[in-house]
Amino acid sequence: MSSILECRQVSKRFGKSHAILDATVSFEPGTVHGLLGANGAGKTTLLHILSGMIYPTQGVVTFDGQQVHENTLAMSSICLVKSDERSWADYKVKDIMKFCSLLLPGWDERKALSLLQRFNLPANKRYKQLSRGMQSQLGIVKGLANQAPITLFDEPTLGLDADMREAFYELLIQECSGSDRTIIISTHLIDESANLFEYIALLEEGVITKHQDTDSFLEHAYYLQGNSVTLEQFSGDPRVLHAESLAGTTILAWYGDLSKERAELEQQGIRISPLPLQKLFVYLTRKGRFNNEEVM
């Protein structure tokens, strides 16, 4: 399938430091991508570049083959939902909705109204008077009511309680099912949203280190749990992301091919289970590939 949004060798420098370095990634239509990275990895900067709000220092971003920056069609087709919309601060919710209806070509008024009701957002309150969670909800209304081909959510669930986060995930699934919309979500609540992601893009210190479908991303990620003496042989193995030992039992976080060792390990009583996405992300982004943590 051809990509709808693509960035090629994009770099962004702020002063002497690189926020994004040589990022090349493409997004297919009708897919949901998780953009994962530690704090300061460059997720927000990358989303701003993809939406045309920031110019890259080098490289190019294209929407449907056309350059995004200063392209009226492309910029109105990519909707960025920021975690904090400072320019909305002094406007009432109803004013913001009016602005959206005037400037966003894909704006669905009825959907916006129903979402405002669903989230119980007061139309006459100013954005800055809303709670953090309500501000996030208003961003979600913008992202979902605007039927843009590409929607980028930057930390959309910031400040939302568990119930509202679930509501957002449900709405997003409804929105994406059977549609060609491409959604890119940056979030730290990985376990919660893992089921949404069809693809994962991993950003480490400004570099996209992985971008692949979630199933193959998790295919070779395991927990190995069992006798410390048996598992000691893997000390220093680059496939071991993390190790923890407690009273003669060791747990290894494993990322890589296990087909050769699997049968023998299972015979030796080692329990092999899938590694959750959040844990995999934590271990992958943590500095140092092997991190022994002796407890006791």
Binding site: M53, N71, T72, R86, L102, L103, L104
Partner: protein
């Protein structure tokens, strides 16, 4: 074209409330001044040209604030709603021209209307105000220049930060210091309103507006929206 029309509708929606409140307050103050002029003329300056002089400063400050807000609020707001920098600059410049023309028209109507009423009631002690079109044109160029200069200043603060913004203010003051009293400069006060020099000064201001608008575009065309 549809996108430009929507941009202008957005600009109008964004500003009409503040504009409406400001003009209503200004009109009330002017009516108050008119009452004073009729009943207690010794309390107010009764020269017809200066009678509504407080309006000039008030409209100037309103235009200044509008310029700053256009740069620091409207720019990120429009880009967050899918507009391009070109759409923004086209909208902001059109808004600047229309609002400056409208405010100048308001001021001219108030000055001429008020003077006509005073004349009607026999309370006018001095000559008639500056001719209608001349007054409107000169006010228009002044308000437009204020709008553009402060949009430029706000843009510099927004794009480059506080220190470059303060340096720009110092630059403004430096230029003003050396040009305000220059022969043939843009100071209206020493010119006869019916003279060519009076209009020429307004033409200079209009040319300066074009220059500032070009500078504004150079700064905005690659400007980033803040990520925080």
């Amino acid at each position: 074209m549809a996108s430009y029309r929507n941009t202008m509708r957005f600009m109008w929606k964004d500003s009409y409330k503040a504009l409406r409140i400001f003009l209503a307050v200004l009109l009330l103050v002017d009516i108050g001044l008119l009452v004073f002029q009729v009943n207690w003329p010794h309390l107010v300056d009764n020269h017809s040209n200066n009678f509504y002089s407080s309006n000039y400063g008030a409209i100037g400050i309103f235009t200044l604030v509008t310029g700053l807000l256009t740069a620091t609020v409207t720019f990120p707001l429009m880009l967050s709603l899918g507009s391009t920098r070109k759409n923004y600059i086209a909208g902001a410049l059109s808004y600047g021209v229309i609002s400056s023309a409208g405010l100048a028209l308001f001021q001219t109507l108030v000055a001429h209307g008020g003077t006509a009423l005073l004349e009607l009631w026999g309370k006018l002690s001095e000559s008639a105000p500056t001719p209608f079109l001349t007054l409107w044109y000169t006010q228009f160029t002044i308000y437009l220049l204020i709008f553009l200069l402060f949009t430029l200043l706000g843009t510099i603060f927004y794009r480059y930060g506080t220190v470059p913004g303060l340096i720009t203010i110092a630059g403004f003051l430096f230029i003003l210091f050396f040009t305000a009293n220059a022969p043939g400069g843009t100071d209206y006060t020493d010119k006869d309103v019916s003279s060519w020099g009076f209009l020429l000064a307004a033409h200079y201001l209009l040319a300066l507006c074009v220059l500032v608008a070009a500078l504004l575009w150079l700064i905005i065309r690659k400007a980033a929206v803040r990520t925080y």
